[in-house]
Amino acid sequence: MTSTQVIFLITALVTIFSAVMVVGSRKLFHSALWLILSFLGVASSFALLEASFFAIVQLLVYIGAIAILIIFAIMLTRDIMEDEWQQINRSWGLVLILVITIFSVLLGLYSTWSGFQTILNPLGISGQENILAFGKSILAPDGFALPFEASSVLLLAAMIGGIYIAMDRKQEGDEA
């Protein structure tokens, strides 16, 4: 085992454990903290894949924005579910079987593929070159300009929609 393999195994174990805690934790705020830890683990696995740009964007978008939004939402909707309550459905046993089935079907499908055991070696391409190619492709008309523009429209729509939905109309009525 090389040191990179050890690093990968450690981050993977931490990530999986914290993902389990996200789903299993009774306190919602603790779930969110475990979620942040698993985001960090995923970011470091991106870094191991030599996608350092996406590792940093993962930090920026998931931890800097989405996790904070989730924590805000948890705090704004607090005291809804007592921590002692049953946090998951009664039918969780069935779901567990379903999930394990899906997981093993995925593994079975993977193992029929010949490239499954490929060793991923360090790339001979610098990160700078990769980002450059990526940036040019999302702005090239024969590349991904259209999906990129569409996703920016999606973001704008989400922003407007979020503001509209969460706006407190009652207060407005009071003033008028």
Partner: protein, 410 residues
Amino acid sequence: MGFLNFLFDPISSISTWLSSLLAGWGLSNEIITPILYLIGAGVLGTGALLVTLLLIWAERKIIGRVQDRFGPNRVGPWGIFQSVADMVKIFIKEHIIPSHVDPIPYHLAPILAVSAVLLSLAVVPLSKTTVGTNLNVGLLFIIAVGGLGELAILMAGWGSNNKYAIIAAFRATAQLISYELPMVITLIIPVLLTGSMGMVDLVEAQKIPFILAAPLAALIFFIASIAENGRAPFDLAEAESELVAGFNTEYSGLKFGMFYVADFLRAFTSSIIFVSIFLGGWQGPWAVQIPILGFVYLLIKSVIVWFVGVWIRGSLPRFRIDQMVDINWKILTPVSLILVLLTAFIDKGLGLSSIYLRYIVLFLLNIGVGALVIQLIVKQVKKTEVQVDVGSRERLVARPENMITIHHQE
């Protein structure tokens, strides 16, 4: 000659000497590199924290002078050991842990707050030869690490089990998140001019500092970074004369000290970052030949920028919360968006090959946009200003609608 080399570039000399020493012990390269990184990180972190002691003293002294007081003047000459005395006091203070705290967030938050500040130093080039890691997305890394600080604040607020702490955490995080926006947008301009997001490339591209090509962007970035640091005039998060102190209300002893240190250190690291992005970092005369000189230049420039920050802190009154929000969403963010668009179009559209011509055009563009914005603001303020005669019974109340938003007085 060897001695001269050591004098000119001590840090890389020491690191080559250390790595050859470790290789002499029979360690493989795979182990030596992490060890050197660890030593480097330790030295950098300790150095930064020690510098903070001096910074705290200097800041208290400067603020004292601004406010016509002496500042610390008892311990040692000019009170220079005041922060050491404070540190010793904070070390031996009792740790008071309030009942029903949420232990993990409560204890983790101060550590996260300090480490979020220290982490951003990892990608800043300290001289031509010395940089923690030459990450090709270093600029993004700095912004991303800033997000960890917000997390620390939220964790402190939640973990303390105190409603004032949690409200203060909300207030602080809302401010930090909203001011991240103009900050990130203005950072696109240096990236446009360099063609890279790596901090090393960014500094090396600044034979002429970027502040001359983008003065307005630098100003917006500076204002946003003051707000990110939560210092006056943006210190609404813990306005000590008006509110319960803030998210760190329930902390005492060393944990409070860590928040305190993180606060002062962030002011200095953000000025180092400002210098690296807009003022040419270690660049200066003979900095390439004698790398240690570059480090000195970086420190001098950072201290100047930091001093301007302290000066502003001492001089300006605190904004009201609606003014804070207005400045961000109505002025800084739209202006920075327009500036990025104009810079990109003009820089690419003209395609100037001469670097001087390019700088002059961009400088004029920035000044033009700035003048336009100032004119618009003045017009808006004139429209909303309420005239009250000196002797009249009418008394103006300091309400939001009396200041900057439109209000039609009958």
